[in-house]
Symmetry: C2
Subunit: 656 residues, 2 copies
């Protein structure tokens, strides 16, 4: 009967003693003490767009002058400037033409002697004797009485006019590009102008990437219960490329000593090895033991006082950096940027990434773990009072925490909470913050997705934060959003939304949705019954588990009213979205829950309607005239959009 | 005898009537009236780092929940939260362990009934009945008297503790990424988490690039007189890639109708065709005629009132955009960014590039052509009073004008000059402006190149502007640079540099150089003579041509003193660098000039020493304590650096 796995527990217990958690700075100090971070040796790459973003390995000294010769900048006549002095439209200076035409690429033979001129094209080589070019527009060609070709110059030239002197662009021997320069189209043009065909650039560090874990599936493999698709391999490979490295994907290794050891050997052929996984302490042990057994110095840091990322391990094996990242996606990518990316950049010859920070106000209280520096992922919202930083609050296990964040701020070790209204310094990530044309904060709905998609098609960038109806209303009151989608019922009156409008907010009419009970088809406690009857049956059955919604959700208010104080099994399981409710029921972790009807079908669930509700849009009155808000309201009135919302199952009739 | 080419002159004259110069806005209006700029159709690319920078072709709707199940965030025990209420270290709650271990990837079988708990790993699937997980750190495992496995819980759990609910990261049916999103590592992680293996992205527009001109050489071909290496092909290919397109290089076509026509047909198989060349009006005609003959609407703009770039032609052939860029590199790349890049971005599904402007002060007067909007390339320098914008002033024929510029400002049509001290709006180009650690403005020297290279190796970014000694002194007086390298002789005293120091400037001792006469070896007028004797011989020979330096150069001051008022042939040819002087002499355009000895050898020239001179560094006193200035001064004192400067031919002895 006690099939429980004591070794697992022992591993868990014992590994805690391995973890010697050190501050971030100390971790970096120990890691770098064992690393040589000079740029890798040069490789010679043909001149092409493939060189974009590469780093010059050595100074480029011009092997020749550009231009190679004194070059004409216009079509016209090469002259001695002194010959043209005093020339005007009324009294032009007449010069005899020399018998050659200096088209592009033609080497002059004749010297321009006093009183003569030579025809020259733009880009042509200025001949000896000439020190200026007169534009053809300021001349007239004619033949003299004896047929001699002549040119009348109508404007005087000063010495050097329209002549680009040899070496004036690039001088032979000049250092024209410095080592360490990141190549763009502009530098490639300079290299081409020098006639170079290959360029010495720092070799990109090859970074082997290994995901470990029995639970991992490669994208494309069929899903099975308890499994997750490996997102780290894809994020890390791309992040390696973004940091200037060349990813070497090693795939997924199960939590087996031999399997991981073989992949580690393979990975050590690269310049750097990055493992992610071992979110379970027992499993993580295996990689740690293998790396630790490969010689000195081995693992130099195991545990850093940061959140996310505490279990990260840093090591050096055979002179190569080896990093064990946590398995949870946000922990993995966060510790990647903290410890791995700087090493890649250094090996690639790139300067450290410039810190890109902005000041923002925290609109809500943020809690932190006291013993660690905690990095809080935030979404930035433009408000009249400056930026507001909304914690994304999905946790380190979520791939979207990092992916959808605009940045993060740090709560120092020893601080337990940062109060709402505090100014924080946000380190931006990924890309420049594009100020959204329209910010929508509040309750989520599939119908809203449709509207936002239409706006995106019109080129309107939308910032969409799902924080629930109550959170949305608060954001609208604080002026942090343009639109707050809400579906809130006043329990006293049964009226939706309008009773919740604070001063300064107006309500745009949205559409009706249906809340109801979702259940697995064929469950006799629900199938074929009316909602009230089914609910009574469910409450009467002690084995019948519900799944609840989080406090602050409109659905939770409705549900609490319906339960009238009852707290059936599962009441404390608080799913955070309609989807999470449907998933819990579909997978048998609960037997019923409340959700809108549009989620029932995708999960193959039955649906018993309980309550039609209004999903409307609270809008600060002073935002109504913003063009993007107008466009949103126009969409709501648009016949084709309304038809599509109706097809999705929403109620757009007048009396909804 | 009249071998002059009248057809060339006729072409030049006649083509001016073709040019119908229109303002920039009108040019864009006409061009876009004939174009459909919707994003190209999708192609499906495997999930990999190759997707970085690609643009999503359609919204991505989540096909599954992430996580798929309620997931534990820690190693510990899945419990019913109500069972743990009141637990403390002193009075733990004891629960019976269920007989399964929920490692990662394991689907639970047993329900967690009241009074029981199940071992669960981080990432494990929370079983039915449980609504929270207790961390292993807050528990003790033991066996009961009958061997029953038990766990003592020492801390109460609240419902949902350490549980990530199914769909809380990504909900099935949620629009998780919008079409038009540019993919980074973060989005790729999200796509992998959804199990996707291929992603629909907008196909990159294929842009064919053709250079035309008899004078062009492909990089790697041997140089010949009058020829230039084709830099446009490389710049434009890379710029196409930077704008989100895929370059299709067509190489170089001579100025022959059949050759260009064949390449144009080939280019029209791509999505867009870009030609550059035809700097000579006659030659440019050919491309224009060919494109114009391929059907309606053909060429819709020929000539735009901008500088650089006036002769650009915009056309549409068989529904495809065709652009004829001028041949001069800066004109070509400037008009590319103006007319071509926006079209590529639109076809690639990218938003228009965000304008990136800064305010700066113009330190010198800038002249402009009255009839056109003139874009002046500038180099930005950080000063205590904000940014200063130095015109790079190399002209549109120079590849470095654009490559080395930090941005440009526009002098509107009708304005002839912008006065020094004017505030201008600078559009930045290429990349973020990295504020240089050290700015050096003044006279150029090969020895300075060595010092700057050393600083670059130490990670100090140097901004180096070669504006001559007088320009450097003025910049130092205005506080626009940290260091102004100068070599200026006071003609009255023969003393170098110190007489020129204004208040607030100090002089750091540099090194000695030798100015002298450069000439072609074997020229009897110079070979084997002393400088004074040679100069006398040169001035006596009316066929002996000199090449002068530009006004403001230290060398010019010396030369004028030497000539004592004489203005021999070539006096008005003003080369702008030591290299340009050496090139003019080496190529026979002049017979002698004055330059420093270090340029003679690379050009194979003879050298007659005239005057030792001091090359020193004027430094604003209030900059002396800047760390980067300190590092520069340290280098000047460094024995190994001094030895290398000596090897280059500079004089670092005490009495120099």
């Amino acid at each position: 009967m006690p099939t429980t796995d004591p070794p697992f527990l022992r591993r868990v217990a014992s590994q805690d003693q391995f973890l010697e958690v050190v501050p971030r700075e100390e971790a970096n100090r120990r890691f770098h003490a064992h690393l040589t971070l000079a740029p890798l040796p040069a490789e010679h790459v043909p001149l092409s767009a493939d060189l974009l973003g590469r780093v010059l390995a050595a100074d480029v000294v011009a092997p020749l002058d550009v231009p190679q010769f004194d070059r004409s900048g216009v079509d016209g006549f090469a002259v001695r400037a002194t010959d043209t002095s005093g020339a005007t439209d009324h009294s032009p200076v007449t010069l005899r033409l020399n018998g050659e035409v200096l088209a592009c690429g033609v080497a002059p033979v004749q010297e321009v002697l006093p009183g003569t001129a030579t025809v020259i094209a733009t880009g042509g080589m200025v001949p000896r004797g000439a020190d200026a070019v007169v534009m053809v527009e300021h001349t007239d060609y004619r033949e003299g009485p004896d047929g001699t070709p002549l040119v009348d110059i109508r404007k005087p030239a000063s010495p050097g006019s329209f002549v680009a002197f040899a070496g004036s662009d690039i001088g032979r021997g000049e250092v024209v590009l410095r080592r360490g320069t990141v190549l763009t189209s502009r530098e490639l043009g300079v290299l081409a102008a020098l006639g170079l065909t290959r360029v010495g650039v720092v070799r990109r560090p090859r970074v082997a990437i290994l995901s470990t874990g029995d639970e991992l599936l490669a994208p494309g493999e069929p899903m099975r219960p308890g499994a997750v698709y490996d997102s780290n391999a894809a994020i890390l490979a791309a992040a390696v490329a973004e940091a200037g490295g060349e990813p070497v994907p090693l795939g997924i290794a199960r939590d087996r000593e031999t399997e991981i050891a073989a992949k580690v050997e393979q990975g050590l052929e690269a310049d750097m090895l990055v493992l992610s996984g071992g979110t379970s302490k027992g499993a993580g042990d295996i990689s740690y033991r293998i790396i630790g057994g490969l010689g000195e110095p081995g693992i130099v840091v195991h545990g850093v006082a940061i959140k996310p990322g505490k279990p990260v391990a840093l090591g050096v094996v055979r002179g190569k950096p080896v990093v064990l990242l946590p398995g949870f996606p946000t922990s993995a990518i966060f510790t990647f940027h903290e410890f791995v990316a700087p090493v890649i950049r250094a090996l690639a010859g790139l300067k450290p990434a410039a810190a890109d920070t902005v000041q923002a106000t925290l609109p809500v209280r943020a809690l932190s773990e006291r013993g660690r520096a905690e990095y809080v992922m935030v979404s930035l919202v433009d408000t009249p009072a400056g930026l507001a930083a909304y914690p994304t609050a999905k946790g380190s296990g979520a791939v979207t925490s990092f992916a959808q964040a605009d940045g993060f701020f740090c709560v120092p070790q020893g601080v337990e909470a940062v109060e709402a209204g505090t100014r924080v310094t946000v380190q931006r990530i990924g890309r420049d913050l594009e100020p959204a044309s329209l910010s929508i904060i509040g309750s989520h709905c599939v119908g809203l997705d449709l509207l936002v998609g239409e706006l995106a098609g019109q080129g309107i960038g939308v910032k969409l934060l799902n924080v629930g109806s109550m959170g949305g209303l608060a954001a609208a009151r604080r002026g942090e959003c343009d639109i707050a989608p809400i579906h809130l019922m006043d329990p006293r009156t049964g009226t939706y939304n309008t009773p919740f409008l604070a001063e300064g907010l107006t309500l745009a009419r949205g559409y009706g949705r249906r809340q109801g009970i979702v259940f697995r088809k064929g469950d006799g406690r629900f199938e074929g019954r009316a909602a009230a009857e089914a609910l009574a049956a469910a409450l009467a059955d002690p084995d019948c588990r519900m799944v609840n919604r989080n406090a602050g959700a409109g659905t939770r208010i409705l549900l609490d009213r319906l339960l009238a104080g009852a707290k059936p099994p599962g009441y404390w399981a608080q799913a955070k979205s309609h989807n999470a409710v449907a998933a819990a029921v579909a997978q048998g972790r609960a037997d019923w829950g409340m959700a809108i009807d549009t989620v029932a079908e995708p999960y193959g669930l039955g649906f018993l309607p309980v309550q039609p509700e209004r999903y409307d849009f609270a809008i600060p009155a002073d935002r109504l005239d913003r063009p993007s808000v107008r466009r949103f309201l126009d969409l709501l009135a648009n016949a084709s959009v309304r038809r599509r919302l109706t097809e999705l199952g929403f109620d757009l009739t007048e009396d909804a």
